[in-house]
Symmetry: C3
Subunit: 339 residues, 3 copies
Amino acid sequence: MKAGALAEALGLTLSGDSGADINALAPLDRAATGELSFVTDARHKAAMLGSRAGLLIVPESLAADCPVDHLVSPAPYVSYAKASWLLIPEDAAPPGIHPTAHIAPTAELGANVSIGAFVSVGEKARIGDESRIGDGCRIEVGVEVGAGSRLFANVVLGRRVVIGRECRLQPGVVIGGEGFGYAPSSQGWNAIHQTGGVMLGDRVHVGANTTIDAGAMDPTVVEDGVIIDNLIQLGHNVFIGENTAVASCTAIAGSTRIGKNCLIGGACSILGHITIADGVTITGTTFVSRSIEEKGTYGSGIPMQPSPEWRRTFAAITRLNELLRRVRRLEKAVANEGS
Amino acid sequence: MKAGALAEALGLTLSGDSGADINALAPLDRAATGELSFVTDARHKAAMLGSRAGLLIVPESLAADCPVDHLVSPAPYVSYAKASWLLIPEDAAPPGIHPTAHIAPTAELGANVSIGAFVSVGEKARIGDESRIGDGCRIEVGVEVGAGSRLFANVVLGRRVVIGRECRLQPGVVIGGEGFGYAPSSQGWNAIHQTGGVMLGDRVHVGANTTIDAGAMDPTVVEDGVIIDNLIQLGHNVFIGENTAVASCTAIAGSTRIGKNCLIGGACSILGHITIADGVTITGTTFVSRSIEEKGTYGSGIPMQPSPEWRRTFAAITRLNELLRRVRRLEKAVANEGS
Amino acid sequence: MKAGALAEALGLTLSGDSGADINALAPLDRAATGELSFVTDARHKAAMLGSRAGLLIVPESLAADCPVDHLVSPAPYVSYAKASWLLIPEDAAPPGIHPTAHIAPTAELGANVSIGAFVSVGEKARIGDESRIGDGCRIEVGVEVGAGSRLFANVVLGRRVVIGRECRLQPGVVIGGEGFGYAPSSQGWNAIHQTGGVMLGDRVHVGANTTIDAGAMDPTVVEDGVIIDNLIQLGHNVFIGENTAVASCTAIAGSTRIGKNCLIGGACSILGHITIADGVTITGTTFVSRSIEEKGTYGSGIPMQPSPEWRRTFAAITRLNELLRRVRRLEKAVANEGS
């Protein structure tokens, strides 16, 4: 791609040779002729000054000092994200319906849909225009997939699942498995039919092997623009507000409601039936055991120590109540002596 | 469904119009004409008094005060669980064997088995009567699936796996992957052939993308009535006693033995080669690091705090041993002064 | 198998009847006629003296006291691992390409490759000699699988994935899903095209439903001989050095670099962009929050306690800073009195 064409596609001003070929992405410290990189702010100024990149995306504040051809952007990282798809386009969808796919007669497929090998699409399912269904996906009866969405290989969408537009589901994702709802009795567990399904908004991304369970009576809901990493569990009737991000291996138990624009770290555990306000940040490995009503950052992770040290520390933890009592006794003794 | 027919099917007495149409489930506070809900105990009496549900399932103790048509049950939640399948029946199994399925010649299929699209069934595998195998499932050579079991889509059953009757395996479940057993040497890891397989009892439910590894010499065992949520790991030779429940994202390491009627919370980590007694409850995110011999509730979860507060708390934790020493010095000093 | 043939295959010296039939593996305390077991060291001497095994693998130091036929090995557990595959051979690969598999015309298949039912192999993919691809696997365009590797059922290999020789990928593994890289903006998250792919070395084992994401610009790398258990997440651009072992349910965030010969316990969480030295051991459930430069053992797991006790302990933890202040006051008071 020519630098000039890239500038135009990104809507940015180019300083430099519009005819230069730019055909790869590279980190700032390694980018060479023909490669694009970016600088977000003054912390990377020294690296920028030594850069030999074919083209850099830089903020206005650093443009005057940039030693190489560059694009000026109000948000260099965002411009770089967009450029990453222009320079290395997404692999083209195989056209049409693979001959091995099994499409039920009453399923409705939109225009320019791509359906991979060994895909099952159930009765009355609807696949929107320009959507792309990877090999081995299972789309149950009545499921809806919005226009422009992409399911990678071996994704499963169960009954009563509705996926919005331009979603992206990585391989092995399971949406609409039965929620874990049981009534206990002396004879054992009695499953409650989970009939609420799942609703994903537009532009929702879901990572590999993540599971999102069907709601009990009402749907489990993931709003527009939410991004969810790999191996995450969303229990039945969870609600996640728009543009929230959830990092890998986090478990969110049933009926919990998470606000908009939250950042949930990796390997967190979030109790069921609680509410987390908009704009909350949860640091990695945190156990969220109660509702969070105020915006802010919350945590409970225990950073590692060398094991002998940690064993002593943990032994001390288990003696904390005894320590409290000893301090109380000391306080009394000192108070008595003082009097 | 008519209220009278529902009462009869549940074996409960109806107070009200046996001809009323009941066709949906709803939460107590929203249930309206034509909808069924339930009340478990007196804590929900106020909500019951304001209910406009078409039909309620109530305990004997609240029946006299119930303002709407109702069924009286000794266990309203269990009756509701049963009703949930009567009012909204499970989707019907596609009849017979899908033409795209690959069934080995020596596999034995019971009566009224439903086999989905693109399913593989290996030589000498046996699928019991009325069982239902979802699209894309892989059933290895010699595997047995008991009568009335349902595998949702893309489930994998490896060699030497035996599944009981009326089990329910959600999409993406893997049972019988090779256990993680290796002998270390200076040239690297030497895998030990895991030949023990897996045995699931009757009425075992397994959640989406959960993995249950094959045992080394003896099978990994999950007894009757156990319910297991999503993204759970059972290592090789784990044993889980009947009617135990395990919530999502819990990891149980190899050769650990868990008793009957336990409740294991979500995101727990349970060490290998330990034993947990019958009737134990483990709260969410707990690290079970040693055997538990007595019935009771156990935990080690660290509830979250605002991060600045948590950072101070954690800093204090790492200074605990120093604090212990200071308290000891104080105790000596005070003792000396007192003498 | 005759004991003599087994001795020869393992390169060990047999004391006993070379014509004895050995056809099963068993634990030391149960092994009987016809069964093989092993003893690693003197801790198991008493059990060895009571053994009725058909054949034992023992160290030199215990050979003289061994009451039954035995093989003497410098590393009995390693010899046993090898014997486990000799006595119970791996199931034979179905020969050739299953008629239902979909192999792109430009894919290259090596000699004696076994391709299962409903497999997809994309254009220009290359499958090495003697490799074995289980039913329902998805091998994307351009992917390479080295000679002698085995993919169990429903494994997905995305674009730009290269797998070495003699690897073993359990069912449901996803390698090459898109890394979780996004540039935030006021309009939401902007995905960065993840074009780096994944490189697995030789003899890498990956457990069921584990996910290894594609790198952003450079590949995610897993070196030779690494063993990875089930339900593990490796973020984009993670690097794992040779012969490291990772136990189940551990999450390793993006761009973290782990050395050779490390032992990473189960359910650990490892922060992104850090470095862990060679030979480090991390105990289960540890949160690795910073780089580790020295070989050694590290941990932060909180072992469970009975819940009432743990609640008191945790309450004391949250009052630690108050306790510190009280001790400081006491120290002043005692110092003043002493002066």
